[in-house]
Amino acid sequence: MSSALRRAAAGLCVAATALAARADPLPERGYGLPHDASLDGHRIDWLIHFTIVGLGLVFLVVLGALAYAAIRHRGKHTAAYDHGNSRRAALLVLACVAVVFFVIDGNLFVHSIGDLDAHFWNFKAAEANPRMVRVEVNAHQWAWTFRYPGPDGIFNTDDDVVATNTLHVPVGVPVVLQLASTDVIHSLYLPNFRVKQDAVPGSITRLWFQAQEPGEFEFGCAQHCGANHYKMRGVLTVMAADAYERWAAASAADAKRGFDPEDKDARWGWEWRKF
Amino acid sequence: MEEPSAPVRLEEYRTSVRARSELTAWVGMVVFLASWAMLFASLFFAYALVRSHAPSWPPADQPVLPLALPALNTAALAISALAMERAMRSLRAGRARRAATALAAAAALGFVFLVLQGVVWLGLYRAGLEPSGGPYPSAFYTLTVFHALHVLVGLLALGWLAVRARGGAYGALRLLPVRLWAMYWHFVGAVWLAMFASLYLL
């Protein structure tokens, strides 16, 4: 049994006990980016690192020029009488600007647009996957509540699985979230998946990601939402496909047994929004 | 105190220190009105965004805004603006007394506007439109009350100008306060036109 499966099984046990189990994702070591557990996170990491290197070089060159000028021209000789108003002077400055602008900014723009269209904002492809998991998220002070449609695939019915501050998803499958908030603006932030999305009262926003490995990961709130903003933390459990199926079936059966038709407040879900 | 508009005096005025500082005041007024226009533009932007989010406007259970009185009010402000122009022309022609009358008329029309606006508010409030009753009354009351405050400031100033003009304080070459308040008054009128069109007509 692979370690991944063992971890998934352990996750299943924790979930099945249906306690507000204290799950412990591994702390990150070092100061780098958090561990990337997602399908597309590496695109963001690459763009960040390319930009860091590119800008680092620019900065070092500029800083070097500044330092060189400061040391070389420290009042030891008379200054040049040059207003820099000639066409040559202007072209020199504009050429320096153009190089930096097209290499760094151009790269950022092209890659960002490409990544967004093909991946991060490509909900069409994510929703086209037949195994895609849909979850509705209701943020409120100070917790995240998640709603799965259950076996019938329809939200706000008696088999909806509802969980607070814990989110279970299968590995290798797109997870599409629709977010709303009841009180103030929150922001769902999944550092290991390099995504976040505001949950705004009065409107529905959306987010999708795909986990590439089983395990437990943290998510939290990124938008200041009041005194206990820091406590809006939850744990995302990524499970192997069969483990997830079992968890989903068991949870849906529990939900159906515990369904109270009188409790209208519990049915805060909405009809899955088509964008 | 009345100054003749003899060409010699006019030429003297144009090169004087006072003429220059009056032009400076005029530039300042233009900057101020540009600045204030941004304030009203933001309020209109807020109104447009809130309205575009609402499923129906007005909501089914809230009263529709009247059209007759606001239309009358638009006319009142339009005539008031004409009276203001008339006052300026009279002053330029050296007829201070006539200018005072025109200024008083402009102020009075401003007063009529406020009274009619009060009637509109009272009617809607009685019909159940409270400021806290959702986005529709929020936008309506905020925009109209904020504008009415500007009308109030304007009509007080015009009244004061009318009194001063009657005492002969202004003439063909001494009309800076009247000129600046006229700009303000036309600005307030223009804002009302936009408000009438967007709140009541659209």
């Binding site: 412990d24 990150e28 980016l33 963001i44 763009l47 000028a69 400061a70 021209h73 009042g75 008379t78 200054a79 040049a80 207003h83 002077a89 202007a90 400055v93 320096c96 930096v100 950022l108 723009f109 890659h111 967004l116 009841t182 009180d183 103030v184 603006i185 932030y189 550092p191 976040k196 999305q197 505001d198 009065g202 409107s203 926003t205 943290e218 990124a222 938008q223 200041h224 206990n228 820091y230 933390r233 | 144009r14 220190v17 003429a19 032009l23 400076t24 530039v27 300042g28 900057v31 600045s35 309020l43 932007f45 965004l49 809130v50 400021p131 009753g133 529709y136 929020s138 009351y141 905020t142």
Partner: protein, 598 residues
């Protein structure tokens, strides 16, 4: 010609008024732009200390959460035994941001330098509207008073972040009078800024001395003037947001309320963000443009070399001013904004980096082949270039939507805007203070203390805000009361602690400035000569230190641009390397080659 031409008016248009004699008219309700400028300077510096103290509390919290704050805790937090709780924590970071931006940096850069320098550098006897100018200061003082009072009320002052996003900033999230007072203070300071802006814009248009064409204005004036234009146009937008928020809080209107607490569907919380950032992004440039102008001038003054491609710098600043009004959407990339809109905002945002780089390259080419004098103002100006470089470059990450998916609302954002708005504005302002102090107070600050202050500041600022960038890169969200609730942040405890130690050192280093400032103002320091830095602009070449009430005995006739250094002809005939803006060329027949083009 119906009206006088709009070119600079002739000298006799500005009569000399007698100086006031009573204490109240001279120092309290003064109409003198120089006194008002110094009033703004004091008001801003005092609040800089208040905002800095709050920052130290935040840093303490991130280093040692749940531990009593030493010294400050026993003074201000007696009720809780010196410990910061989550509710108090949100008040602290909210007020830190608000105070620093609106009540410390704004009055120093715009209130103090704008008032003091605009008439002096353009050759005017005062502002266009002195009474409006006085009112502007007293409205500002009123707003500061409201801010201070808000600390005393039940439930504390504002706690919704400096951006005051609703619905958190409405009664749903922040009940109590404190947040209402904060909104009122914002509105009041907005009125003050608008008054100041109208005055600055008009003064520069109308009161330039004869010969002072737009292309001969010092870069400082360009920075301040463009700032004033942005202020005049965009502060009212903030005013409208504050007004609507105030109405939502007190009259139950529904502009920004949505969700469970809304009536009939409610309004739109995102509307506030639109209004706030339509103002807020220009505000970023409002805070940095004056610093850019000051740096552009000081680099030339102390490199003893004309500013490189003056026109290029001016055009770049103008382009940035226009663009700054069109990019605000990049603050809202993850609110669920439409993709098309988001991409347009991203393109415009990246475009801004081009003119900004023009400025940076111009600065470097200015000192290149100069003859640099490393006086304190020059050190601060070079430091500004350094931190602005870091701040500007990190901004490129955040102007980008896909990177924002990860970096938005993390400490990376905090580090970025502190490098630009805090470090660059602060160092730029300090460059200005050290530079113009002799003109303001007639005495010179100690160079030795000034240089020590510089090294403390530049090293401290870089390490503190660099530490924030690193924490953000590792994913730490901003505004967390206890970041270590999150396991993935626990590894950053050491980083955050070290950042805090650097912050405490930085704060302590500022007392070098306080000591220098007080010692020189109150204990008799060296009396400053008229032109201690040997530079060219009107305030140094044409009037005493400090200038008399009417500034100039004779309104100067300006001959050339502000950066006439190293002209060999001047060197040959006058034996010095600079020529004042209103100074005659020694030989009337000598062609002033540089000046003609400048």
């Amino acid at each position: 010609m119906a009206l006088p031409a709009t070119h600079a008016p002739s000298a006799e248009t500005q009569p000399i008024h007698p100086a006031p004699t009573s204490f109240v008219k001279k120092y309290v309700f003064s109409l003198d732009h120089k006194v008002i400028g110094i009033q703004f300077l004091w008001a801003g510096l005092i609040f800089l200390l208040v905002g800095g103290t709050l920052a130290m509390m935040i840093r303490w919290q991130w280093a040692f959460p749940y531990h009593p704050v030493p010294v400050l805790g026993s003074i201000f937090l007696r009720g809780s035994g010196g410990v910061i709780g989550p509710a108090l924590y949100q008040n602290i970071f909210t007020m830190h941001g608000l105070i620093m931006i609106f009540f410390a940096v704004t009055p120093v850069l715009i209130g103090a330098f704008g008032n003091f320098l605009i008439p002096l550098q353009i050759g005017a006897r005062d502002m266009a509207f002195p009474i409006l100018n006085m009112l502007s200061f007293w409205f500002f003082a009123l707003s500061q008073l409201i801010i201070l009072a808000s600390f005393m009320v039940a439930l504390g002052p504002g706690g919704a972040g400096w951006t005051s996003y609703p619905p958190l900033s409405t009664n749903i999230g922040m009940p109590g009078i404190g947040q209402t007072m904060v909104v009122l203070a914002l509105f009041t300071t907005g009125v003050s800024s608008t008054m100041g802006a109208i005055n600055y814009v008009t003064t520069v248009i109308r009161l330039r001395a004869p010969g002072m064409t737009y292309m001969r204005l010092p870069l400082t004036i360009w920075g301040l003037w463009l700032t004033a234009i942005l202020n005049a146009l965009f502060i009212p937008v903030l005013g409208s947001a504050a007004l609507l928020l105030f109405l939502d809080r007190t009259f139950g209107t529904q502009f920004f309320i949505a969700g469970a607490a809304s009536v009939r569907g409610g309004g739109d919380p995102i509307l506030f963000q639109h209004l706030f950032w339509i103002f807020g992004h220009p505000e970023v440039y409002i805070l940095i443009l004056p610093a850019w102008g000051i740096v552009g001038d000081i680099l030339s003054f102390f490199a003893r070399k004309p500013a490189y491609w003056y026109r290029g710098s001016v055009y770049a600043m103008c382009i940035i001013t226009v663009l700054s009004a069109l990019v605000y959407g990049h603050h809202m990339f993850i609110t669920g904004m439409s993709p098309m809109l988001g991409k347009s905002f991203m393109l415009l945002t990246l475009l801004i980096s081009a003119p900004a780089m023009v400025l940076v390259f111009n600065w470097i080419f200015t000192i290149w082949r100069g003859s640099i004098r490393f006086a304190t103002p020059m050190l601060f100006a070079l430091g500004t270039v350094f931190v602005f470089g870091l701040g500007g470059l990190t901004g490129l990450f955040l102007g980008d939507i896909s990177l924002d998916l990860y970096l938005h609302d993390t400490m990376f954002v905090v580090g970025h805007f502190h490098f630009t708005m805090a470090a660059a504005s602060f160092l730029g302002a300090m460059a200005g203070i050290y530079f113009w102090f002799p003109k303001m107070f007639g005495r010179s600050l100690s160079e030795r203390l000034g240089k020590a202050h510089f090294w403390f500041s530049i090293v401290g600022l870089t390490l503190v805000f660099g530490g924030q960038l690193l924490a953000g890169y590792a994913g730490q969200q901003r505004r967390l009361f206890d970041p270590y609730q999150y396991t993935f942040i626990q590894g950053l405890r050491g980083l955050n602690r070290w950042t805090s130690y650097f912050a405490f050192t930085l704060f302590a280093g500022q007392f070098l400035f306080v000591w220098n400032f007080f010692k020189t103002v109150f204990a008799r320091g060296h009396t400053a000569p008229q032109n201690p830095w040997e530079v060219t602009t009107l305030e140094w070449t044409r009037t005493s230190s400090p200038p008399p009430f009417h500034n100039f005995d004779v309104i100067p006739q300006v001959q050339r641009g502000p950066h006439e250094f190293a002209n060999p002809k001047v060197k040959e005939l006058l034996g010095r390397d600079y020529l004042g803006q209103a100074e005659d060329m020694p030989e009337a027949t000598a062609p002033a080659a540089g000046a003609a083009r400048a």
